[in-house]
Subunit: 244 residues, 2 copies
């Protein structure tokens, strides 16, 4: 086994309405990279949102009283806070300037995925794709690759720093469930469910350098369990979550 992780470095600035699959295929061709049924294609949420027009102009937003008071208390843009609130179906934590929200698709993340970085134009902000699994499925079909992951950088309780995770998938069972299989010594593994889609996203993240604009990364040599798949299975059921 030998995994290869290769970023595409010539993806142009993506704009609303662009056909992402065509941009990815053109970049791969320019860079002599083959995308085939054994290739994992990881795509940064940011360009998926841009292509799908998941963009909001803050200048059109009227902040509610709670957004205004929170923004004033923590030195934030009240329109941005209002946008975060409208992108949330539940607030998990709102404390010390940090806003952790549950999004419409159940993801738990800072600012409900609202993000101003790497966007062209003052006041323009991306929000998460409406249905990241569907975004992944469309790209998967158009690219003819093995699997597509839509990835985003999330913070975590207990640990510092962002890591990339899969927020949308197609063509992969995102959890590898080894429960019931035996370890090297014949002892049954009792609690080993590995978030392979998140590990693939993190591996791709190593090559998606934030300030260099490499929003698409190819991974080859990985043998994954093929399935329709949904990134929703990576989200813990709130009923079983001790930290929500």
């Amino acid at each position: 086994m030998r995994l290869e992780i290769v970023p595409l470095t010539t993806i142009p600035e993506v704009r609303a309405g662009d056909d992402l699959a065509t941009l990815i295929q053109a970049a791969a061709a320019r860079e002599n990279q083959i995308i085939d049924a054994e290739t994992v294609v990881a795509v940064a949420q940011k360009i998926v949102s841009k292509a799908e027009g998941a963009l909001v102009d803050l200048r059109g937003i009227s902040p509610s009283p709670v957004a205004q008071s929170w923004a004033a208390e923590w030195g934030k843009d009240p329109r941005l806070i209002e946008l975060v609130l409208t992108q949330s179906r539940r607030i998990v934590k709102m404390d010390r300037g940090v806003l952790i929200a549950e999004t419409a698709t159940g993801l738990v993340c800072a600012n409900a995925g609202v993000d101003q970085s790497n966007v062209d134009g003052a006041g323009i902000t991306t929000v998460l794709p409406q249905d990241p699994d569907a975004s992944a499925r469309r790209l998967h079909a158009a690219l003819g690759c093995g699997t597509v992951l839509v990835t985003d950088s999330f913070g975590r309780p207990w640990r510092e720093g962002l890591v990339d995770v899969a927020i949308g998938v197609s063509g992969i069972e995102p959890l590898s469930d080894l429960r019931g299989t035996a370890d090297r010594h014949g002892r049954k593994l009792t609690a080993t469910v590995v978030a392979v889609a998140d590990q693939l996203a993190a591996a791709a993240g190593l090559a998606m350098v934030k300030d260099a604009g490499c929003p698409v990364v190819l991974i080859r040599g990985y043998n994954w369990k093929r399935a329709g798949g949904s990134a929703r299975s990576l989200v813990r059921d709130p009923q079983n979550d001790l930290f929500r």
Copy 2:
């Protein structure tokens, strides 16, 4: 940029007192793999603990009343629970059969890192290395590689499945702090600190298949910030942690 992730597949069963660096070098030589100053070497905690003799025989443990009642309630081995308690400096959550603890070095994880999988011998359990950074430093010096990461599989709030993280490092600044640098559009990145050591650990985890015994993985082609480094900087200060 092209990252390569290669597991060593011929590491023998590790026993207390083994010289891990020698075992790794011998496996690399057998497998025609070069370990040099550009190589990241990720080593699973399990074999570090075994080599260092961080092993406990449950048969020598007398469970306390709290371990006994918790074990009875959730169908666990009371000696195992007692061991988890002795490995903890603080219990973060003890609920519904889940025991999340803060270890002596500040890590927050299930069962304080106590783990029975992949250990040879009934009743023998591994605990975390006493000082995982020191373990990484010793291996780093002996291997002459670029950096060493001691990795372990951790669960996470909000998301299902385990991902590998770095619990000990040497030769790397584990957080890549991009705050103050500009994105492609010249906008300052305000909240972008990436946990590169954890992303490397997760990437290595893809090749450390739990039931196949590949506890050492080489990563090549990654350009990281060289530093002494400590995995403690990956652990959020409890004062700033909204979920502890």
